[in-house]
Subunit: 167 residues, 4 copies
């Protein structure tokens, strides 16, 4: 995916695991890995969230920020922030998580603004704040490790990685 | 591991899965991932070799060459090249494999020259031919993907990756 | 465990996946496998519930009834029946599940009456309605298959299995 | 499978992990689980042999005897008894293993006499010496545990289990 778009900012009703709300603008200079998930989505629980935890443990915090986006688009009443908090405690999610603001229809605001297809989706933003990859569903750890490192090794000034993996 | 050593060339009695014997010198310009293994080593069968296959499928051949080194240091009579060939057929190993030349003691020549601790060991050589990493035992796919990509994004001229993973 | 106790009946506010509430008395004549779980308990989601599903698929319904007991003893507000329904839909739980009646303290009524240590717990009741095994935590599929079959092969008249597995 | 055949005896050139050669006749009174395998068969290494080890650990030795049958029908030169011994050492196979006697064609003698389709195959023999199940390929641990226990609970006098699993 060759893209140079900048994602609209996250529209959240609240943030967990962080004292201050985060902004993509404020994370400029670091690579940002965003895991969009729902707490009652089996693919997120089994694959997406554990992989996001491994990203957080594999890369330096100075290089890569890991963020969760809880974007509830089904079973809305079953996944309020109060339940999300219990879920994060039980699953020991240690990175900051934004609660996507409910929209007028099924989709929450950020999910709609970013045109996400569903959960889990992993988005990668480069040091300059440009969206560089968006993976809906399952992607291998090796490909994720390679893709993120390709962004990490880019300078902040902004040349693109010469050699993305085949994935 | 910060190292700038150049590995001695592979000393092999024969090569499988390649028409011509390979040399590290001849692979200069590409990153080389070398999986040192024994066909009757459970950790190699379960972890090391499948990971090497995933490296071969994740990265571009122009960027990363994957090589096996069959370095028999125990049960020598049980793992002759004839058996290795059957093993590689059954396990569908698709990358070139060098048969390490037997030594005067237990250890074969290349294994001794490279001072390997055992199998499986994954060695990473950069585009300039310098040994950059050596992992004995198990290492996660995400860390391997990241480490290799850090070498891939280095220019052939040779600056080091600024940001290795923590791993 | 050599026990001949009869469990008190399940005290439930409601039952899901069944048109009529079930009773242990009504299931007399069949072996009953009861999976006590909480929807936000990682060990239940990863191990206990998938194993209960495999029990339901491995044995004949005429021989073995599989029942879930949702016994919430922590994060009470996060796991109301409404959320449980969404969870069961997403995880495709196909066996009847009783919602354990809240108690005066942390523990719900059935969990307290049965003196359960936590979740997941698998209880096995024989054709005569006697509690024959109670496993808190992880137990292997092979041992579970063997234990249940030992009860299945007992006649309803009631001799005990001669040969329980070592487990 | 409803069968009452008695398997011909194992025709072996040698036995490993046992001081005396075994016979099915000599094991009468116990259930016998026989794992037919080849050391270079990936399905045997990954699935069949670990499952046979779990059988040996789950059931009482007085009830269930676990035996391996190394029946080489391909890559004959790659899997001589000498190599098998190294393999069994590395993979810590702890049950007795018979080396199937080479035949005049590709198939070894016992494999041919038993009309096995390939490896891995798990055969179950009841306390009276009758073949009761034969599974080529993968079968779940829960079903195996149940099937074996159904045979274990039969008396030596010989009534059949009333309630085989659906499997």
């Amino acid at each position: 995916m060759a893209t140079a778009i900048t994602l609209p900012e996250i529209d959240a009703t609240e943030w967990l695991n962080t004292e201050q709300p985060l902004t993509l603008a404020g994370l400029r200079g670091r690579v940002v890995a965003i895991e969009a998930f729902q707490m009652l989505c089996p693919g997120c629980v089994e694959h997406g969230l554990p992989q996001a935890q491994r990203i957080a443990h594999t890369f330096r915090q100075d290089d890569v920020a890991v963020i969760g986006l809880h974007c509830v688009f089904e079973h809305h009443d079953a996944m309020p922030p109060l339940a999300l908090r219990a879920f994060m405690h039980e699953y020991r999610i240690c990175f900051p998580v934004a609660v996507d603001t409910p929209g007028t229809g099924m989709l929450p605001q950020t999910m709609q603004a970013w045109a996400l297809e569903g959960t889990p989706t992993l988005l990668l933003v480069d040091r300059q704040g440009r969206l560089r990859a968006r993976h809906f569903g399952k992607i291998s750890d090796m490909a994720v490790g390679a893709e993120i490192m390709a962004l990490v090794t880019e300078s902040e000034a902004g040349e693109q990685a010469q050699q993305p993996p085949q994935a």
